[in-house]
Subunit: 485 residues, 2 copies
């Protein structure tokens, strides 16, 4: 149980995970629900211990941290239940068919999914509960049947240890196999884990350079493995002329609230807002009272924010539209630039500035919205602020769906609900695995792999592939889904 | 229409694909079914022209080629129909819920999948129809809404041109957008396509070294893209003691038929058979009359087969169990080695020998089957030849499911049926994308990416996300699947 005295050898760590994984993969879905429910209960019960540590290490507010812990335990339970319902298994049963029109008889084929094996999760700094030690990646890997080694984020080491202690105690009490979960702090050790042949997937939330480095390591292994990196995004907001004319004040309020939420330390922060040149939006923003400055997560993030903000301000054509003043913490800041400048230096200007800074881009012609949409990099989110009968809306929505994992209509991208239909992903560099999500129940699918059983007798099939009609799992039988059984 | 006079510039080729892709992605699923059905009809009608070219270029038999063409057109139609039914979309609708127990209201979220964009397909040599120009990768990418550039395999250039001509003419007649499909022959040009920023995925069937090289190129791009490589496999067959005692003759017959089918030029050829030492299996194999030698696909494959076979024969502990003689073509050959030798040099002895050669591995103790299963690389298939009440069967099946994409029970792995439940994939090096399949309707999912729409009005949603109950697509609504609507 003592986290810093486990055998430091990577081989030993991974060997324990492999052994635990065999037992965990063979456990019934109901047993996994019970075990992960016990972990969730233990974390809820430990809030009084954990939240104060998080407060000290992250500077986030108590209300936020308490809410985030609730989200985290909700997520653990929802993922375990969805896994038990087989949501991620895509079960298919094709009975033998001597007359299959392919030209050869069809054998009896039954397909479900099996856990990938041990996973390494690199925790994020900005959600010390929901994207950290017991966060979404850990929860979806465990729920899918995989053991997890977590690399703690250096921004909250004590909270990571305390959380891991709660998780380990709950797992032990609930009878989970020893080695199912472990925490490492050392970056070199974590990289060694990532290259270990018995590690079968990686997950990461963080910056583009760090994520790309780890992705490259994972792909250059003798056996490349899936690496689910959730990296960076500016989450552009496209405001049409008519929306700006009709609702400037409401848009400005929503924008300021969203980009300063959590001091702008969200991967879904709307970092760029495109608005018509000369509209009331820029005028209102210039006069807007921005929220008070609050300390960022840690010194490294504070310095990073300042560095990127200064880089942006130094660009030709970029001005400060409005900025608070604060002697100690980075004050919320809105920069402004014309769309021509932005189109001339997309990579330089549409760059993530993690913290309370955003860029307003003024356009002269709505067609320029389409051009930006066509040329931007992959995004976690893209938002359309428009009127329902705006002529440009269908074309713009169509383009944005090709660039982002989630597109929003007159709503703000911060706040990523944990649901069945959530998609928190997107084309590179938003993520390293464009088809996948790290939030919501579809996140489970990242940690399993399809397998077909051909011609097997009933007793040797996984439960969900047997002829029984009471599996509780949705199945596609002979090509047709007939609903939950 | 003239294949060798298209603008050779890669930019122009890709630009045409991008333009076509916008139209094709926006086309209705029904329109895609019509267009791909027209392609299938045209290929069926062109059999009299195509099969003779294939005969000349591949040395495969007319019966085999005719059957393969039928499989190919069946596959095109099945994939188009399955795509229209939304099998690959994993549609999820979560209605807004102010009381969502996460601790924050749930917005209206609706998730479906969109085509990735232009795809490059590297054709295989051994299935000149089913895994080539109009084969499974092309069919699944087109059916999923993506334009396709095919790199022709050098083994059948004339057939590739003739097939492409039929496809292009049918596409044009059916009103498909210009540029939706194109063929390239030059390897350097194909690699340039693979690195083009507007190419969004790659698919490949072939050898481990060639596939790994292309995979590495795809992952090292500024924007890494999914690369679906189906590489190599020895497809081990595990024969238990009791099965060997009960059915030696039947097992030997099945094995010889399967490993020599198509002159052993199948990626699912059972290249390794594990049988008890001293069983009738080796005795029967020694006396077996092997099929006559037939020419392989081409000289390069003939040389490759001979080279790997000689390498295997030269290993300490490897003997020839039986071999035909043939002055011209490589004769079917069965090698034999003890399991200790194999466990001492797994990489050297369990290596794919593409062509009519297989290795029998004799074991002394059934526990050694488990050890081999635990230690083998990823496989497309693994086969269990056992009695229903064999004690070792459940443990062995469990291990094999962790190593292979498809596991078989008392059947032979050659012959990969195109069905809903098929899984033709497996952990590396069987494939570069362990969760995916290149055969069957689940192959469609490789070419789409999930997107969530948040808070959109009905008229701006993709058809399958609207409130209508007559979409014809299976949907998970508020967490529950209620069957086809």
């Amino acid at each position: 149980m003592s986290l810093h005295t486990v055998d430091p050898s990577v081989d030993a760590l991974v060997a324990r995970a492999v052994a635990a994984g065999e037992i965990w993969a063979a456990a019934s879905a109901a047993d996994r629900v019970t075990v992960l429910g016990a972990v969730a209960d233990a974390l809820d019960a430990a809030g009084g211990e954990l939240v104060p540590i998080a407060l000290r290490e992250t500077h986030l507010t108590e209300a936020r941290l308490t809410g985030e812990l609730k989200r985290t335990t909700f997520q653990l339970r929802l993922l375990a239940r969805s896994a038990a319902a087989g949501e991620h298994l895509d079960v298919r049963i094709d009975h033998a068919d001597p007359d299959w029109p392919m030209g050869a008889p069809r054998p009896d084929l039954r397909r479900t999914a099996v856990p990938l094996g041990p996973v390494i999760v690199f925790a994020a700094s900005n959600f010390p509960f929901a994207f950290s030690v017991a966060g979404g990646d850990t929860a979806s890997a465990l729920a899918a049947g995989c053991p997890v080694l977590v690399k703690a984020h250096g921004g909250h080491p004590d909270l990571s240890d305390a959380t891991a202690r709660v998780v380990l105690e709950a797992l032990e009490k609930a009878g989970a196999p020893d080695g199912l979960f472990a925490l490492v702090h050392d970056a070199a050790q974590a990289r060694a884990v990532l290259t270990h042949p018995d590690i079968k997937a990686g997950a990461f939330t963080g910056s583009i350079p760090a994520g790309r480095t780890l992705f490259d390591i994972a792909q250059n292994r003798a056996e490349p493995i899936p690496f689910y990196g959730e990296l960076g995004s500016v989450n552009p907001v496209f405001v049409t002329e008519r929306a700006a004319a009709a609702r400037a004040a409401e848009i400005v309020d929503g924008f300021v609230t969203s980009f300063t939420l959590g001091a702008g330390q969200f991967c879904t922060k709307p970092g760029v807002l495109l608005a018509p040149e000369g509209s009331r939006i820029t005028a209102l923003l210039r006069e807007a009272v921005l929220p008070e400055a609050v300390p960022l997560l840690n010194d490294r993030i504070t310095e990073g924010h300042q560095h990127v903000r200064e880089q942006l301000r130094a660009k030709a054509g970029v001005d400060v539209l409005t900025a608070g003043t604060s002697p100690q913490s980075p004050a919320p800041t809105v920069l402004v630039a014309g769309v021509e400048e932005v189109l001339g230096d997309l990579g330089g200007l549409l760059t993530e500035c993690f913290g309370p800074t955003a860029l307003v881009v003024t356009y002269r012609d709505e067609e320029q919205l389409l051009e930006v949409a066509r040329r931007i990099d992959g995004q976690l989110t893209a938002t359309l602020v428009a009127e329902a009968d705006d002529e440009i809306a269908p074309r713009l929505a169509g383009l944005l769906a090709r660039k982002a994992g989630r597109i929003l209509w007159n709503q703000w991208p911060t706040g990523v609900s944990v649901t069945h239909a959530q998609q928190h992903g997107g084309p590179y560099p938003a993520t390293t695995a464009p088809g996948t999500t790290s939030v919501g129940t579809a996140a489970l699918a990242r940690f399993v792999r399809a397998v077909a059983w051909q011609g097997f007798p009933q007793h040797l099939l996984p439960r969900e592939l047997r002829d029984s009609t009471t599996t509780g799992v949705v199945r596609r039988i002979d090509g047709r889904i007939t609903g939950e059984e």
